[in-house]
């Protein structure tokens, strides 16, 4: 499949020498939802602005739809849709007026009604932008990004400020667009969003990609976790050695790549020793743990799984 987004050794250095993006390379094939995940300040927005062609990279190369999005802006823009982290709309225009303005600037724009329908803002079309809630503004921003039926869609934190229902609706919409062939690159710091939505994701830390793969691949390399509390009469030292348990007072945590075997051994021991494991909780690695591990470890080398 053709790669519609290509980043090769991408760098962005701000005046003053701060390196926000530090040698990123990745590609996104047509029809994929690709998520850039990272803590605040990881360099997600700085990266997306390079891909969108809002700024030239300090080093490396970007291609979107096979072209340079900064130098060939006029050729690329009609085929992409962009939602910035913070929408800039004149506060004194209504929702419908804002869409109309944007439609006049967009090749092959959807009708205003259809765009507002997509994001569920039909009932608010006569309302001034200044009167909208934060979530409604995000949805208006999304409507504008979708107006020209883009082939490539860039969404910078698309669901920030949305309530749970609004977030689900946006996910549904993004999936539907992907199923229709749209390529989507989004940034998020919501792990469940990346897990639920992304076909592939990259975890960014300090301007670099630390891990890249499908959500399953990223989590597969992480250990599962078992937690429980021992009764006061049972010291942690009585636990079988092979479990490699770590105790903090009565609280015990076991990290394992073989969840089923380890859990079986633990339960067999507990039955034999007649020990009740309070608050027993066993779970496979989640993206959240992978993410937190990475944020904690502050690793610099790129791990591609």
């Amino acid at each position: 499949m053709t790669d519609l987004i290509e980043a090769d050794g991408l760098r962005r250095t701000y005046t003053g020498g701060f390196e926000a993006v530090n040698g990123l390379s990745f590609t996104v094939p047509q029809g994929e939802i690709f998520a850039l995940l990272g803590t605040n300040g990881a360099g997600k927005t700085s990266t997306v602005e390079l891909l969108e062609g809002l700024a030239p990279p300090s080093g490396g190369a970007v291609r979107v739809l096979g072209r340079d999005p900064y130098r060939e802006r006029a050729a690329v823009r009609p085929r992409i849709g962009i939602m910035l982290q913070e929408g800039g709309f004149p506060a004194d225009l209504t929702v419908a007026e804002t869409v109309r303005m944007w439609a006049g600037c967009t090749t092959g724009a959807r009708p205003t009604g259809e765009a507002l329908e997509l994001v569920g803002l039909t009932a608010r079309q006569g309302v001034r932008v200044s009167q909208l809630s934060g979530g409604e503004r995000r949805r208006l921003d999304l409507a504008l990004a979708l107006l020209g039926r883009p082939e490539v869609l860039f969404l910078d934190e698309p669901t920030t400020g949305l309530d749970a229902e609004g977030r689900r609706d946006t996910w549904e919409l993004v999936r539907a667009l992907r199923d229709g062939g749209t390529t989507v690159l989004l940034t998020t710091h919501h792990l469940e969003e990346a897990e639920a939505l992304a076909d592939r994701l990259a975890i960014m830390h300090q301007g670099r990609i630390v891990t890249l793969g499908t959500p399953a691949e990223v989590t597969a390399s992480r250990p599962a976790r078992i937690r429980f509390a021992l009764p006061e009469t049972v010291p942690p030292a009585r636990l079988p050695r092979g479990l490699r348990a770590a105790a903090d007072g009565r609280q015990v945590e076991i990290r394992t790549h073989e969840l089923q075997d380890t859990l079986g051994a633990l339960l067999a021991w507990a039955r034999e020793a007649d020990v009740r494991l309070e608050g027993l909780d066993a779970r496979s690695a989640s993206l959240e743990e992978a993410f937190l591990d990475i944020a904690r470890a502050q690793r610099h080398e790129t791990v591609v799984v």
């Binding site: 809002l54 823009r77 800039g88 007026e97 109309r100 006049g104 600037c105």
Partner: protein, 255 residues
């Protein structure tokens, strides 16, 4: 391609017109200030002997009024508009779309330019119909002067917005241009009544060339050499301003 440009400019201009109508202060300044300043100019001219300039008090006031329109409706108004759109992240958002940088700046300027043009037309026709002022002697020259003024004021406004941090500080950053032009470019009194050395210095100011073309176009007079010099001065300022915009214009707020 040309049709797309027209559509984009139309869409941007229409949105900006809506915003102008909803911004009472800006609308008030744009609609009433220039014409009321014509009255101020007129009363100040009672003290001046206009014999050397070859025009009546009301003619000097009305031609000065065109300069006022250019300054207030175009320059002052647009500095605020560009700064407000920049600080509201509107410029940044517009740049994610299809309009080119030039289309964005032009589209935002359109309502102010149209308003200024209408007021200039009002001054000319009103003066001729009601105030016994000469009809334009060389209409093409007058139109060229006004158009050059519109372009120059727009470019200067965009350049001025680069050094303006907020809409509030626009009141301050537009003041030098206003004062220098009002006093030095012959708005209140034609340069002919100034001492010669001061007058020749004032000829180099941004708006002076435009004013010379406007007065010669409307009232007649002015030899070719003088008009050529005026046109070149205005053009030079336009080129400098456009260069400044390309070099220093800010599309998003400082972080």
């Amino acid at each position: 391609m040309a049709a797309n440009t027209t559509a984009r400019l139309g869409a941007l201009g229409r949105a900006e017109l809506t915003l102008l109508v909803r911004n009472r202060t800006a609308l008030f300044v744009a609609l009433l200030m220039p014409l009321s300043l014509v009255l101020v100019i007129r009363s100040s001219l009672d003290q001046v002997d206009l014999g050397a300039a070859g025009m009546s008090v009301i003619e000097a006031a009305l031609t000065g009024g065109i300069g006022m329109v250019l300054l207030m409706v175009v320059h002052t108004n647009l500095v605020s508009a560009y700064v407000a759109r920049r600080e509201g992240l509107v410029l940044k958002r517009l740049r994610t779309g299809e309009p080119s940088d030039r289309e964005i700046l032009t589209g935002i300027a359109l309502p102010s330019l149209a308003l200024a043009l209408a007021q200039c037309a009002l001054l000319v026709t009103g003066g001729a119909a009601l105030l016994d002022v000469r009809a334009p002697q060389r209409p093409v020259l007058l139109a060229a002067g006004v158009l050059l003024g519109l372009v120059l004021m727009t470019a200067l406004a965009a350049a001025t917005s680069a050094v303006t941090r907020s809409v509030d500080s626009a009141q301050l950053t537009t003041l030098p241009m206003f004062l220098v032009s009002a006093m030095g470019s012959g708005l209140f009194a034609p340069l002919q009544v100034f001492p010669e050395r001061i007058a020749s210095l004032c000829e180099l100011l941004p708006l002076t060339g435009v004013m010379t073309l406007v007065r010669a176009g409307w009232l007649g007079g002015g030899d070719t050499k003088e008009l050529l010099g005026a046109a070149l001065t205005a053009l030079a300022w336009t080129v400098i301003s456009v260069f400044a915009v390309q070099r220093w214009f800010r599309w998003e707020p400082r972080r």
